[in-house]
């Protein structure tokens, strides 16, 4: 039967209007075009979301999460109104109350704390993208207890990067995708720089470049890697140190780069027993000194015309000083780092390690090239060309989330610097406002007194023991014990320790726990079952041990059920936000950029953007910065704050369209600023001049451009810190020097771990447990199509990742006789779970893994109780403790990196046995009452008038 082709409208109207804003389906923050259509009531509805082609982050593309944003806005799990707890904590029983009542309750709880003991408020803001604002609020409240989620995410990478070279990956910098020929990627959380890395890998491959993936699991980026190195978890640092050993031994390092741009020629005091031992020789103004190879004379590092000598040495005042480079040579050429020595531990053959190092050396040195672009360095020397070394690296959580993660991240940064491939064409490039050395960042502040703001920003970078957040009596000033001897460089705080410490009253008790957007009773806490117990535990009087809990979330998450007062947030399409240069920027290496979110739809529920609620609370509490001398509100809401707040004169949350709309970076307040952003597609971009595109820390053209935009107030060229003095200062204290002394039980650990040159040591937990009893490493990965818990409430995304078996490598699969459909008992030193298993061949032979945060508590996220996420889904968190196993000394040892406090999620070791098939994974958790009911059975939606 032949019938004529039916008539087809191939040019249908796409939408009635396109509104451009910023995605929030993960932390990547892409630009999106939200297509709006008129609904039956004439109101505009979201019909379709696509990437914004003009946007600097995603240039038009969009991931699965981003395109599924419409189902987040339509999710049945959205909270509808403020909630006051009526049943026991954890039950999910609430009554809806008005905003006035909710804010009055919150004010009545918080006001007396501010008047008497501000530290009794612990305010932690989770996956907050407005930290410069939320920290401003906390600072004006006066509590020292503020941080976001960095401590349980990737603080090791960020901190190691700042201390080593003034920035790390993702928000700090990126590969030079146009020119790189070899890209080496270590374990990665996909939502960190999500679309740019996918775009970059595509571009690299189209250019004929190669990808090496170092990861225990061959999925995602590792699936497309030309070379997969299935390393044993927690040993990345050892592999990198072995590569450094080989490269250094073969002279495959960039001596010119090292002598000019790093502290390799700086001079280390070697006097035994001296309080200066291990510190760098400086002049009277504090500038590090180097030997000028031309004259043999000591000179400040930045003097014009000098040639800093990597091989120099100086005897002064009876003290011998040799260069950092000579110390590095001794350190890295040690036999401890030969491929043969590290091979077994890393699970990689010595030949393969050699091949990797040789390939890196070949591309860095044999494929070096020059760009015809003159530039002038900070010593005033003009260079006619820019030398490129087309090798680049990337890493995030995979190597960060170990108790040896800081030193591992340090090792990776040092490897890049030794190759001379940072801030050069083809290598790794910083994104404005980075690079910024430690000196450009604040120190931490913790001095809290009633009715007063805190004495400065909470978070910062300690230079030495004097900057630790300790009270007069030496006890921790912060509830999370950040910036203490247990983890002195904890630049992002330790959100994962807050509930545990508050419950233990260690270092003190608090009154109110105020959380935003962090699922701390579920997938964002280690030791989930115990955390739920801590949140519901009562004292001898029958009162909750943690007296009050306020929580803000847009959705009916597991944490909602544990709050006393719930402040319902909006979805990302219903709110104002700013993606600020003062905060976690979205710049590109070639451009400074920032962006906004704005309400492309109005909420259809009684909910408010959390930041506007904080403004309101700030006014009700009379916080400085939120009320004027007469006690009147300074800002009406968050949008008003975004436009009118000035951190320094002329510098506000948004850099674009300032003054009369023509000023960038610095400029007066522009009342029309948000409209200008909206007209421009929701973002602002200012390009880096070509002369300033590389060598940013040392390039005078870049430094001047950065000052012009207000990133800092005067040029501040600096040297990369191969040798990190603040670490050495901590060691000196542990060796007995100085007034501020660590407790005796921590001295040796500080000396062992805080080496000023990168080292590797086994995970802390490995030292406490019998490795033979728990021979298998266990990891989680975040799927590319999900973000934390949020994806499960999304009808489209949960069809992609609704299940999370434990993936088992061939060796264990065969040893244990597993078959498809089997279940396993998985035991750690802390607990056991029973879960479904699946076979995976592309997996390190001693590693099992599962997808992160697929498992859900019954009753949460508006899912039906029989949803697979709530029946077979599971969390590895039950097997991980926030504390190390007790050592019998009565102390609570945190399961965190001893330098930064980074949560050591990936140190987990387990044993695995076959168990009988089950209907439900174990442990089972009682269900919570859903304050929003369950989602509809059928979803079939097209927006039509």
């Amino acid at each position: 039967m032949a019938s004529p082709n039916p008539t087809l409208d191939t040019s249908p109207k796409v939408s009635d209007e396109v509104r451009k804003t910023t995605c929030y389906m993960c932390a990547c923050r892409c630009g999106i075009n939200v297509h709006m259509k008129d609904g039956p009531d004439g109101k505009k509805r979201v019909a379709y979301i696509e990437g914004n082609r003009d946007h600097p982050v995603n240039k038009g593309v969009l991931c699965a999460k981003g395109s599924a944003g419409i189902m987040q806005v339509n999710a049945p799990s959205k909270l509808k109104a403020p909630l006051l707890r009526t049943g026991p904590r954890g039950s999910g029983q609430f009554k809806e109350i008005s905003w006035d009542e909710a804010l009055e309750i919150a004010t009545s709880w918080l006001g007396p704390l501010r008047d008497n003991a501000p530290e009794k408020l612990a305010f932690f803001t989770g996956r907050d993208q407005s930290q410069s604002f939320t920290s401003y609020w906390a600072q004006n409240f006066g509590t020292p207890n503020y941080a976001a989620h960095g401590g349980f995410c990737s603080v090791n990478m960020a901190t190691a990067g700042i201390y080593t070279m003034g920035g790390a990956f993702w928000e700090f910098g990126q590969t030079d995708w146009d020119r790189t020929k070899l890209f080496v990627i270590f374990g990665v959380a996909e939502d960190h720089d999500s679309n740019p890395i996918k775009m970059g890998i595509g571009k690299l491959k189209a250019n004929g470049g190669k990808v090496i993936g170092v990861n225990p699991i061959r999925s995602g980026y590792n699936a497309v890697a030309d070379e997969w190195v299935g390393i044993t978890p927690g040993t990345d640092g050892l592999l990198i140190l072995s590569m450094i050993h080989l490269l250094m031994k073969a002279g495959k390092i960039d001596l010119n780069y090292l002598s000019r741009y790093t502290n390799a020629p700086c001079l280390v005091n070697e006097t035994p027993g001296s309080p200066e031992k291990g510190l760098l020789l400086r002049d009277g103004t504090g500038k590090p000194l180097v030997v000028d190879r031309k004259t043999g004379v000591l000179e400040p590092f930045d003097k014009a015309g000098i040639n800093p000598d990597l091989a120099g040495s100086v005897d002064m005042d009876g003290a011998t000083h040799r260069t950092v480079f000579q110390h590095m040579a001794e350190h890295f050429l040690s036999e401890d780092y030969t491929p043969e020595k590290v091979s077994d531990r890393c699970g990689i053959s010595a030949d393969r390690i050699r091949a990797l190092a040789a390939e890196v050396a070949r591309v860095a040195f044999d494929e070096a090239f020059e760009l015809d672009q003159p530039w002038t360095d900070f010593r005033g020397e003009r260079h006619e060309k820019m030398l490129g070394r087309p090798v680049s690296f990337h890493a995030m959580r995979g190597i960060s989330a170990h108790s040896n993660g800081f030193q591992t991240c340090r090792a990776l940064h040092v490897l890049q610097i030794l190759l001379g491939t940072v801030e050069v064409p083809g290598g790794f490039r910083f994104k404005p406002p980075y690079p910024k050395p430690v000196e450009a960042h604040p120190t931490p502040h913790c001095k809290s007194q009633p009715k007063c703001p805190l004495d400065g920003p909470h978070l910062g970078f300690v230079r030495g023991p004097q900057d630790l957040a300790l009270k007069e009596d030496g006890t921790p000033a912060r509830i999370d014990k950040a910036f203490t001897w247990e983890n002195p460089l904890s630049a992002h705080g330790l959100m994962h320790m807050v509930i545990s410490n508050a419950h233990a009253g260690d270092p003190y008790k608090i009154d109110t726990l105020f959380l935003y957007m962090a699922n701390m009773s579920w997938n964002s806490s280690m030791n989930t079952s115990s955390v739920m117990d801590m949140l519901t535990d009562k004292d001898e009087n029958g009162d909750y041990v943690i007296p009050k809990i306020i929580y803000s979330d847009a959705y009916s998450s597991e944490m909602v059920a544990f709050a006393d007062l719930v402040l319902p947030d909006t979805t990302y399409l219903e709110r104002h936000d700013c993606i600020s240069l003062l905060d976690r920027p979205i710049c590109e290496a070639d451009a400074a950029a920032d962006a906004i979110r704005w309400p492309v739809i109005e909420p259809d529920r009684d909910v408010r953007g959390f930041q506007s609620v904080l403004v309101d609370l700030g006014v009700r509490l009379g916080l400085p910065g939120f009320v004027n001398d007469k006690g009147e509100a300074i800002y009406a809401d968050y949008a008003d704050y975004i436009v009118n707040h000035q951190r320094r004169p002329g510098i506000g949350p948004l850099a674009g369209f300032r003054g009369d709309g023509s000023k960038s970076g610095r400029g007066e307040v522009n009342p029309d600023q948000l409209n200008r952003y909206i007209e421009n597609g929701g973002f602002f971009v200012e390009h880096v001049p070509e002369e300033a595109a590389f060598y940013k820390p040392w390039n005078t053209a870049y430094q001047e451009w950065a000052v012009g935009l207000g990133f800092y107030d005067k040029p501040q060229p600096y040297l990369f810190q191969l040798y990190v003095e603040p670490l050495r200062r901590m060691q000196l204290a542990a060796e007995g020097h100085g007034d501020r002394q660590p407790p005796d039980h921590l001295r040796q650990r500080i000396i062992d771990c805080m080496d000023p040159l990168p080292i590797w040591y086994p995970a802390l937990e490995d030292r406490e447990i019998d490795e033979d009893a728990y021979p298998v490493h266990a990891l989680t990965q975040r799927p590319m199509a999900m973000y934390h818990s949020w994806g499960s409430q999304n009808a489209w995304l949960r069809q992609i990742h609704g299940m999370n078996p434990l993936y088992v490598p061939t060796k264990i699969w065969e040893e244990k006789g597993f078959k498809d459909g089997d279940w396993a008992k998985v035991t750690s030193v802390h607990g056991e779970i029973r879960v479904p298993v699946a076979h995976m061949a592309g997996l390190n032979e001693n590693t099992v893994w599962t997808w992160n945060a697929i498992g859900k508590r019954r009753g949460a996220w508006a899912l039906e109780k029989g949803a697979p996420e709530a029946t077979k889904g599971f969390l590895l968190n039950h097997l991980i403790n926030e504390l190390l196993p007790p050592k019998g000394d009565g102390l609570r040892w945190s399961n965190s990196d001893p330098i930064t406090g980074q949560a050591a999620w990936f140190d987990l070791r387990v044993r695995i046995e076959k168990s009988r098939p089950r209907k439900h994974s174990k442990p089972t958790t009682s269900s919570q009452v859903s304050p929003v009911g369950e989602g509809p059975t059928i979803v079939q939606k097209k927006v039509e008038a």
């Binding site: 395109s67 061959r218 999925s219 061949a841």
Partner: protein, 249 residues
């Protein structure tokens, strides 16, 4: 029986690069979003928040592990799959109502939903499993190659590509005329050895796949590590080398 056109003026289709696809499912969801709002009935989801959610998708990504025949470690391949717009499409010839048809102008295979009785024969006939009967609308859904985008004058020219191609972050999806040997997609297929999926089925698919490049080659042959020859065996010798190297700078 429905007849296929003897020839088509163009052969529009996709070229999917299996060497670059990271398996992120961006194409799956962009497709779902566009085609829910556009061609025919919206793509529904049944038991959307329940125990066994089943939705209509026109494009899905499957992941496979492959053990190389010559030994070596397992490789992972992400495999996006949608209608391949075959020249000899069995889904068209099996259709009892004429609802399934192949356009003579560009070769796109479509379902005229107003004529579809939801009998499912076409899904049975398709050897690739790329057709899904929408559980709510009761009509057969399949990839339209975004026929309502690629000619759409309401879109900027640069956006007149299928939604999956526009959104793919890795650039693993390419759209064009595979009937024109000079088109970019045809050249890509020629350069990279693009292949037909299951050619033995005789369907003559228009879509092509580019194979993954050879992997794990670094230690497959003896590696040249001469670049790693130590400059000296002793620490003292290393400093001697350093001195000489610094002089040469």
């Amino acid at each position: 029986m429905t007849e296929l056109p003897a020839t088509t003026q163009r052969k529009l289709g996709l070229v999917i690069d299996l060497d670059t696809c990271v398996g992120c499912h961006a194409c799956v969801v962009a497709c779902k979003g566009w085609n829910t709002e556009n061609y025919g009935a919206p793509l529904s989801d049944v038991d959307a928040y329940g125990a066994d959610p089943v939705g209509s998708f026109l494009n899905r990504v499957h992941s496979y592990e492959i053990a190389p025949t010559g030994g070596g470690c397992s490789q992972t391949v992400h495999f996006p799959k949608s209608c391949l717009h075959c020249d000899t499409a069995p889904c068209v010839t099996v259709c009892p109502t004429g609802a399934s048809y192949k356009r003579s102008e560009d070769g796109i295979v479509l379902v005229d939903e107003s004529a579809c009785i939801g009998c499912g024969l076409c899904a049975w006939a398709c050897p690739y499993g790329t057709r899904e009967l929408d559980q709510v609308a009761g009509v057969m859904k399949k990839c339209t190659l975004c026929v309502d985008r690629i000619y759409n004058e309401n879109l900027e020219e640069v956006d007149r590509v299928p939604a999956c191609v526009r959104t793919c972050p890795a650039g693993a999806r390419h759209f064009g005329d595979l009937g024109d040997p000079d088109s970019d997609v045809s050249k890509l297929v020629a350069e990279r050895g693009g292949f037909d999926l299951m050619p033995e089925q005789g369907t003559a698919p228009t879509n092509k796949y580019l194979p993954p490049r050879p992997k794990d080659r670094l230690t497959a042959q003896p590696v040249d590590i001469s670049s790693l020859t130590p400059v000296a065996e002793e620490p003292k010798g290393f400093l001697g080398w350093l001195d000489k190297a610094l002089e040469a700078l």
